[in-house]
Each structure stands twice: as structure tokens, then as C-alpha cells.
């Protein structure tokens, strides 16, 4: 089968799964819906492999395939078609997305077990995978926007999955609104592009772009900035990042899939895919890199202070995506994408393990209350440690190779780009610290009450209470189910976590500098036209120096965490008390929510209140009521002629007669 046929099938299976579960949800038994969903994604994964194999059958230079199902140009008047574009980048993304999604579906089979919205969950999850695949396989910017918007919707539907929880629906709306801001940027970019070049499909755009624009001409910079707006909203980079932390209201598999592995990486994909445009607008690319750097450091510092387990991991995601954005903005395309893949592995693993721990804690997410699960949950603890090692970039793990490849590239590129290398290494120390903050607090130490209960073989049962607001929840549909599932007892969770742990620990082996370069050589033809990628070559020596520095940073971070939590427990508390204001600043997430509230929300609400209160009342109502009052007033004036006095009417008659006579007299004279 041709590559593009595989491509269409990749998209078709999750869509079919979603629609099938959706249509049959009343008659389908819960488990069956789960298996259908998982099977659909597994088939999509198989098709991705099929596409890869079919593609490998072609020589390396000719691995770009486009296929169109329907051309809308005639119908809609804008140049776009229902077409996919399958090249190495798309296949890579498809493999990552379908692979990780398949494992997360497997995990959810067990994790969401007692939830009343089980079938709805799988339908939405399949729909999300379909939209994400549509996004990465789309062949033109307009279809990309379609996939983008669908993904945004799926994210909203899944964040607000427990729709009777006020905090969940608020978080869903917040995510959606911020994503829409990005969508607007993306749409304007596409409009500008179509206006300037006249086509929207990738092949033609990238061909004509160098002729249509001069370097750093304001139009192309504007287009790239608008694209970045979309990317930053979707990938939760500053200042459009505030939604990601709140999005942890969704179920843990959702956090694992959407907010760690796939949706948030859409922005990275977009920048990588549009690299010819960014090559023509180096200003925009540099701005993107700086934003990525800022987010990287900001999120890492916040992760040091927050106490909600899922939120620590969320900020970690933000930070790691900052690395990826830096990577694809400075020209380290394959390195950035490699980090995308490894991050998908270990972040999904971390979320899964966190889900298991939270289940054991009966839905409490505060790490201040979690301690010593080492004996009670050995498998989960091992998974947590594996993920943390990869996140910290411990030598030998996948994160080690991928993260440091980006930083080595930055250092090699030299000049201004040293900032990224230095910032990245500082971030690496912080990353290592906070990842082992989680490990040392959750896994080691004296077992907390729930852990002790679990050692006896009994999962702690808590009252269904919303961890954020403390309000009591009714476990009917719209709230989390009453039962909790931990990895030790459910084999699907174990299998998924094991596979991911393997990938997190050993995935780096495909890209050891100087030894293997599977990914880089595979992706190289895609980015062949980039002058940066061609001009900058990281020598093996420099690569190893970078790896060494990275390894030292990670060990530093782990060591510091070890000292503060294991050797001298309580030192972090003393630090917190001593630097109270700094801690508050970090704990409140750099007050970004308050900033946006003051800068954006309040003025808009004030405008709205002005419009509805003053403008509506005075101007609009004034016109309407003024008109009716005017007519009424006129009527009142005219009514005085209807006095009811007969003599008055007679007077009017005679006056009229006299007037008429006068007229005739004058006319005759």
C-alpha cells in the first residue's frame, strides 16, 4: 500500500473508534468501549509503522508524499484541499502520538474503571487522537487549523470531563479561551500567508516563500509571530501558559496524554514544520527561542515550590517544552524533536505513576501528605524513579541524550546562542532537583497513613472531596468514580508503565553521538533546506563535552535534593521560612494569573459592564425609548385638539371655512 493510503488509515481508525463508541454508548458495556478505543489506537499505531516501512522503501531524498481527497478551492474560494502530507516528520510525530496514546488507552482501561463516564471518556480520547493525527498529517495550513481547533475542543472536553466539578469546568473554559487566542493568531497567519503567496499547502508555500519574501521583511516576521502566538498558546509557553496548571483538573490519563505527550507538543511541531518561514524571519525565531528559555526557567523555579503533585509535573512539562521550543527555534530540529519523543515517554510515565499514587491516597494530591510508598507500592515507586531519572537527565537515560543534544547545538552555534546553553544547563540543575524532590518525598521516608494502610493490603478510602476546594462530591456521572485503581493491582496499568519505563530509560540509545544517529539521519532530509542545520555541525567531541556537563548538572541537582530531603530533612522547610517572600512568589506561580487578571480580564469585564450598563441603557435604550416617547409625546400634543367640546370643533370648522375662503380669494386676485 502506498504511504499516503497508510496515512489516511492512521487518521481514520481513531475517528472510527470515537464515532463507534459515541453512537453505541448506551448499549456498549463499559469494558467493551475501552477495548474498542484501545484497539482503534493500536490499529493506528500499526498503520503508522506501515507508513514508516512503506516510506523506507523509497530513497531518502524522496520521502515526501502528498495526497488530496477533495479540493475546496472551487467551492470555498480559498486555496485549500482535504489533503495530507506524509514525510519523515509527519510519520515520526504519528508514531510518537499513536504509540504513547495506545499505552495511555491501555492504562485508562484500568484506571478509569469505576467511573460513570467511562464510555464518554474513551470516545473523547479517541477523538482527541484523531484530531492530533489530523494536525500532524495535514497537508496545508488550513487543514492544520482544523486539526488545531479540534484538538483544542478535545482538550476542553477532557479537562472538564467531570463536568459537575466547578473547578474542572472553570479550568476547561480557561484552557479553551487561551487556546482560542492562539487559534486567532494561527488563523491570521494563514490568512496573511494566503494573501501574500496565494496557496496554503506546504509544498507550494515552502517553495514560493523565499521568492515572495525578503529576509526579515515585516510581513514574514508578522506571519511567524502569529504562528508563534498559536504555538505558545497550545504549548503553554509564557505568557499564555496559565491554563496548563489548571488543566490538571482532568483525569490523570488526560494529563498524561494531552498535557504531556501530545497536544502541548503541537506548537513544537508547528515551528518545526514551518521552518522555511522561520528561516526567512530570524527575528521571530530568536524571539521564540527567548520565550522558550524564559518559560523553561520560570516553570522550573515554580516546580520547586508548588505542592500539588500533578502541578509539579505540569510545570515540568512547561519547562521541558521550553527546551523543545528553544531547540526548534535555534535550528536544532532533530534534537528538539528527539527531546519531544523522549519527553513523551518519561512524562507520560510520571503522570501514570502519579495517578497510581494519588489513587492510593484516595484522590489527595498534596505531596505534603504523601510519604514512604516504597514498600507499599514497589512497582509504582520504581516507575516514578525511572521517570524522574529520565527527566533529570541522569547519564544514560533518554532525557540525558536528548536534552543535552539541544544544549550542545546551542553552544556550537555560538555567539548569542550561548545564553541558551547556559540557561539550559541551569534549568537542568533545577529540573533534576525538583524531579527528585518528588521521588524523595513520595517514595522515601516514613510511610504516611495511607501507605501503611496499603501495606496491610487495603487501599485507603476517603470521602469524595474535591482536593482544590474541599467541597464534597457526588460520585454520580460528572464526578470521579468512587473507586481507586493502583498499578500494583491492575495489569493494564503495569504493562503501559513498563513499556514507557523501558522507553524512558533506554530510548536514548538510538541517538548516541558518534555511535548511532537513527533519528537524525531519518529526519535530516526534511530540514535539508535549512541553512542553520547545514551550517552548524556539532562535532562528536563537543557533543561529549556537552553530555558531560549535562550529566554533572543532573548529578548536582539529584545530589542537592538527596541532601535536602534525605540527609538533612527539614532543611527545605527552613529555607522556605527564611526566603518567605521568594517562596510565595514561586508558590503563586510568579503571580501570572493575577497579572493577566489585572491586565486583560478586568479591562474587558469593565468594557462589558460599560457596554451593558451605560451604553445599552443610555444610547440604545435611549434611542428606542426616545423614539417611542417622542411618538407618544406627539400624540399627547395632538390630543389637545380632541377636547370633547362641540363648540371647539365647530370653531375649527368655521376657521377652516374662513381659511379656505381666504385661499380662494387670494388665488383669484
Amino acid at each position: 500500500m502506498s504511504v499516503t493510503t497508510w496515512g489516511w488509515l492512521i487518521i481514520a481508525f481513531p475517528l472510527a473508534g470515537s464515532v463507534l463508541i459515541g453512537l453505541l454508548f448506551r448499549v456498549l458495556p463499559a469494558k467493551a468501549a475501552g477495548w474498542i478505543g484501545t484497539l482503534a489506537i493500536a490499529l493506528a499505531f500499526a498503520c503508522s509503522i506501515g507508513a514508516l516501512l512503506a516510506m523506507l522503501g523509497h530513497p531518502a531524498e524522496e520521502r515526501e508524499f502528498a495526497n488530496t481527497l477533495y479540493d475546496y478551492a472551487g467551492a470555498a474560494g480559498i486555496p485549500f484541499d482535504l489533503g495530507i502530507y506524509v514525510d519523515q516528520l509527519s510519520v515520526f510525530m504519528a508514531l510518537v502520538v499513536t504509540g504513547v496514546s495506545m499505552l495511555i488507552h491501555l492504562y485508562s482501561l484500568a484506571y478509569m474503571g469505576s467511573d460513570a463516564g467511562y464510555r464518554r471518556f474513551f470516545s473523547f480520547l479517541n477523538f482527541f487522537v484523531f484530531s492530533m493525527l489530523l494536525l500532524v498529517l495535514a497537508g496545508n495550513y488550513v487543514l492544520l487549523i482544523v486539526g488545531w481547533a479540534f484538538v483544542g475542543f478535545a482538550s476542553y472536553a477532557l479537562i472538564s470531563f467531570w463536568y459537575r466539578r466547578r473547578t474542572a469546568t472553570a479550568a476547561g473554559m480557561k484552557a479553551f479561551v487561551i487556546n482560542v487566542i492562539g487559534d486567532i493568531g494561527l488563523m491570521f497567519a494563514a490568512i496573511l500567508l494566503i494573501k501574500e503567496i496565494g496557496v496554503s499547502d506546504y509544498g507550494s508555500v515552502f517553495e514560493r516563500a523565499p521568492e515572495a519574501f525578503t529576509t526579515n521583511e515585516w510581513t514574514i516576521v508578522a506571519i511567524c509571530l502569529l504562528l508563534m502566538l498559536g504555538a505558545f498558546a497550545k504549548s503553554a509557553q509564557a505568557p499564555l501558559h496559565t491554563w496548563l496548571a489548571d488543566a490538571m483538573e482532568g483525569p490523570t490519563p488526560v494529563s498524561a496524554l494531552i498535557h504531556a505527550a501530545t497536544m502541548v507538543t503541537a506548537g513544537v511541531y508547528l515551528i518545526a514544520r514551518s521552518y522555511p518561514l522561520f528561516t526567512l524571519a530570524p527575528t521571530a525565531a530568536d524571539i521564540a527561542a527567548f520565550v522558550g528559555l524564559f518559560t523553561l526557567l520560570m516553570a522550573a523555579t515554580i516546580a520547586l515550590a508548588v505542592t500539588d503533585l500533578k502541578r509539579i509535573i505540569a510545570f515540568s512539562t512547561m519547562s521541558q517544552i521550553g527546551y523543545m521550543i528553544v531547540g526548534v527555534s535555534i535550528g536544532a530540529y532533530s534534537a528538539g524533536l528527539f527531546h519531544l519523543m523522549t519527553h513523551a515517554f518519561f512524562k507520560a510515565l510520571l503522570f501514570m505513576a502519579a495517578g497510581s499514587v494519588i489513587a492510593a491516597m484516595a484522590a489527595v494530591q498534596d505531596i505534603d501528605r504523601m510519604r514512604g510508598f516504597r514498600r507499599a507500592m514497589p512497582f509504582t515507586s520504581a516507575a516514578l524513579i525511572a521517570g524522574a531519572l529520565a527527566l533529570a537527565g541522569f547519564p544514560g537515560t533518554s532525557g540525558f541524550f536528548s536534552k543535552d543534544e539541544i544544549l550542545a547545538f546551542a553552544a556550537t552555534r555560538g555567539g548569542m546562542y550561548w545564553i541558551f546553553a547556559v540557561g539550559g544547563y541551569i534549568g537542568a540543575i533545577l529540573t533534576a532537583f525538583y524531579s527528585f524532590r518528588i521521588v524523595f518525598r513520595v517514595v522515601y521516608g516514613e510511610p504516611c497513613e495511607e501507605a501503611r494502610e496499603l501495606e496491610q493490603g487495603h487501599i485507603h478510602h476517603g470521602e469524595p472531596i474535591n482536593p482544590a476546594t474541599g467541597e464534597r462530591e457526588d460520585t454520580d456521572v460528572g464526578f470521579p468514580g468512587p473507586e481507586h485503581h493502583i498499578a500494583e493491582r491492575e495489569w493494564p496499568m503495569k504493562v503501559a508503565m513498563a513499556v514507557l519505563a523501558f522507553g524512558a530509560l533506554f530510548g536514548g540509545l538510538i541517538q548516541i553521538p558518534g555511535v548511532t544517529d537513527v533519528l537524525e539521519s531519518f529526519l535530516e532530509p526534511v530540514f535539508a533546506a535549512s541553512p542553520i542545520a547545514a551550517g552548524v555541525h556539532v562535532s562528536t567531541t563537543d557533543a561529549y563535552i556537552g553530555l558531560a556537563v549535562g550529566g554533572i548538572c543532573s548529578l548536582l541537582g539529584i545530589g542537592a535534593a538527596f541532601y535536602m530531603y534525605m540527609v538533612a530533612p527539614g532543611s527545605t522547610v527552613r529555607l522556605r521560612d527564611r526566603f518567605g517572600r521568594l517562596h510565595d512568589f514561586l508558590f503563586n506561580r510568579w503571580y501570572f494569573d493575577e497579572l493577566i487578571d489585572a491586565l486583560v480580564y478586568r479591562p474587558v469585564v469593565a468594557c462589558g459592564r460599560f457596554a451593558s450598563g451605560t451604553f445599552e441603557r443610555v444610547v440604545v435604550d435611549g434611542i428606542v425609548r426616545g423614539t417611542s416617547d417622542g411618538v407618544g409625546g406627539l400624540g399627547t400634543v395632538v390630543r389637545t385638539a380632541q377636547s370633547g367640546f362641540v363648540r371647539f370643533y365647530a370653531l375649527l370648522v368655521v376657521v377652516g371655512l374662513a381659511g379656505l375662503g381666504l385661499y380662494f380669494l387670494l388665488a383669484a386676485s
Binding site: R639, A641, Q642, S643, G644, F645, V646, R647, A650, L651, V654
Partner: protein, 99 residues
Amino acid sequence: MGTTWYLVLSALLFAIGAGGVLIRRNPLVILLCLELMLNSANLALLAFGRHLGNADAQVFAMIVMVVAACEVVVGLGLIVAMYRRRIPLDVDENRGLRG
């Protein structure tokens, strides 16, 4: 006497009748003033009739007299009915047409 004299007299009587209708409040007197106006019209008719030597005007004047008689009958009937029902005999008191 020239026809003009009769016509001017007729106009004067008509104006006096119109003024009376507008000034008086007793419906009976208003009817009387109406009679004045009708008669002045008769006078004018007959004056023109004589001027043109046409006797049609006299027939016309007879018909006017008939109509005036009918109108008087109906009007007086109304006034009697009003009096019977103790409705005040004052056109200004009866303002039912007030809008």
C-alpha cells in the same frame, strides 16, 4: 335694489348665525342659530334666482326649508330626550367625545 345688497345681507346673517353657534351653550339656542344660517342661505339663493330670472332657485329654497324642518324635528327630539334623562342641557358639559 341691486342683487349685491341682498348678498351682503345674506353674508352678514350667515356670519351672525355662525358666531352664535360658537358662542352659545344652550343646545336650543344653537339650533336657532342654525336656522339663521339656513335662512340666510335661502335669501342668497332667491337673490340669485331673481337676478338670473330662473325660478329653479325657489324650488331649491323650498327643499331647503323641508330639510330644515326635518332637522329641527330631530334636534328638538334630542333635546327633549336629553331633558328627560336629566342630562345637563349644556354642550360644554357633555364631553364624552374627549380623546
